[in-house]
C-alpha cells in the first residue's frame, strides 16, 4: 500500500501551481519576492515543526506506514514541506489575486 500522505504532499503543491497557471494567473511564481518568502517561511517552519514532531514530546504523531519515513532535520517528516509549500503558496496567490487596484505588481524584488 502506498504512503498516502507522501502522495498528498507531492500532489498538493502541484495542484496549487496548476491553479495558478490555469485559473489565477497572477504571475507570482515568476517573482523573486515569492521565492524569497517561501525560503524564509520554510526556514522558520523547521523549528516550529521540529517542536511539534520531537520524539520525546510529540504534539502531532504520524502513521509510519503513511509516510516515506524520511525525516529531516530531527524528526520532521519530509512530507510536511510539501504541505507547508502548498499552504504558503495558496495563501500568497490568493493575497496577490485580491490586490487592491493601484498596488504594484510585486515585481520589484
Amino acid at each position: 500500500m502506498a504512503a498516502e500522505y507522501t502522495i498528498a504532499a507531492v500532489a498538493a503543491p502541484v495542484a496549487v501551481v496548476a491553479l495558478e497557471l490555469l485559473v489565477l494567473r497572477t504571475g507570482l511564481l515568476r517573482t523573486a519576492r515569492y521565492w524569497i518568502t517561501v525560503a524564509i517561511s520554510l526556514a522558520f517552519m523547521v523549528p516550529v515543526d521540529g517542536w511539534l514532531t520531537r520524539p520525546d514530546a510529540t504534539v502531532v504523531h504520524y502513521a509510519e506506514e503513511q509516510i516515506s519515513g524520511v525525516r529531516a532535520p530531527w524528526h520532521i517528516p519530509v512530507e510536511d514541506y510539501g504541505f507547508g509549500l502548498a499552504l504558503i503558496t495558496l495563501t500568497l496567490l490568493l493575497w496577490q489575486r485580491l490586490r487592491p487596484a493601484g498596488e504594484g505588481g510585486g515585481r520589484d524584488a
Partner: protein
C-alpha cells in the same frame, strides 16, 4: 502547561512576526477584509485535508499537548495553525515588497558618505585667516542635493 504547548508554539510565531507590521511597514493586519478573503478558502481547503488525513489515520494529535478543545473534530490549535502560518508568510511577503523603499530610506538616514566626511577637517587653532575661510567654506553643492526630498 503541557496542554498549552501547541498553542504556545503558535503564539511564538505570532509574536516573532508582530514587529513586521508596525516597524517594517507590512500592511497585512491593516487590510482585514483582504486578509479574511485570503484566509477563508485557505482554512477551508486545509481543514478539509486535515479531516480526511485524520480520518484515514495519516496523523493524530497528542491529547497531552493540546487543550482538548475541538472544532468540527479538529483541535482548535490546528485551525489556528492554518491562520498563523499563512499570516507569517504574508507579513514576510509584504515586508519584501517594501524592501526597495526600506533600503532607500536606510540609505538616506545612513552615515554620511566618505567624500562628504573628508570634506571638513577637524577645526584647528587658526592662524591664517584664509585657511579659516577655506575650512568654513560650504561643502560641495552635492550635500544640498543629498538632503533633497526629506
Amino acid at each position: 502547561m503541557d496542554a498549552l504547548r501547541y498553542l504556545l508554539i503558535l503564539a511564538a510565531c505570532v509574536a516573532v512576526t508582530l514587529p513586521l507590521e508596525p516597524v517594517l511597514g507590512a500592511r497585512v493586519y491593516r487590510q482585514p477584509r483582504r486578509l479574511l478573503a485570503t484566509l477563508l478558502p485557505v482554512v477551508a481547503v486545509f481543514v478539509l485535508w486535515d479531516l480526511v488525513a485524520v480520518a484515514r489515520g495519516h496523523w493524530w494529535f497528542s491529547p497531552r499537548y493540546t487543550t482538548g478543545v475541538t472544532v468540527a473534530g479538529l483541535p482548535w490549535e490546528e485551525w489556528l495553525f492554518f491562520v498563523v502560518v499563512p499570516l507569517c508568510a504574508l507579513l514576510t511577503f509584504e515586508v519584501l515588497g517594501r524592501a526597495p523603499r526600506l533600503l532607500r530610506r536606510a540609505e538616506r538616514a545612513g552615515p554620511p558618505r566618505r567624500d562628504l566626511a573628508d570634506e571638513a577637517p577637524p577645526a584647528r587653532v587658526v592662524e591664517d585667516p584664509t585657511a579659516a575661510a577655506r575650512a568654513a567654506a560650504p561643502a560641495r553643492p552635492e550635500t544640498a542635493v543629498s538632503r533633497r526630498g526629506r
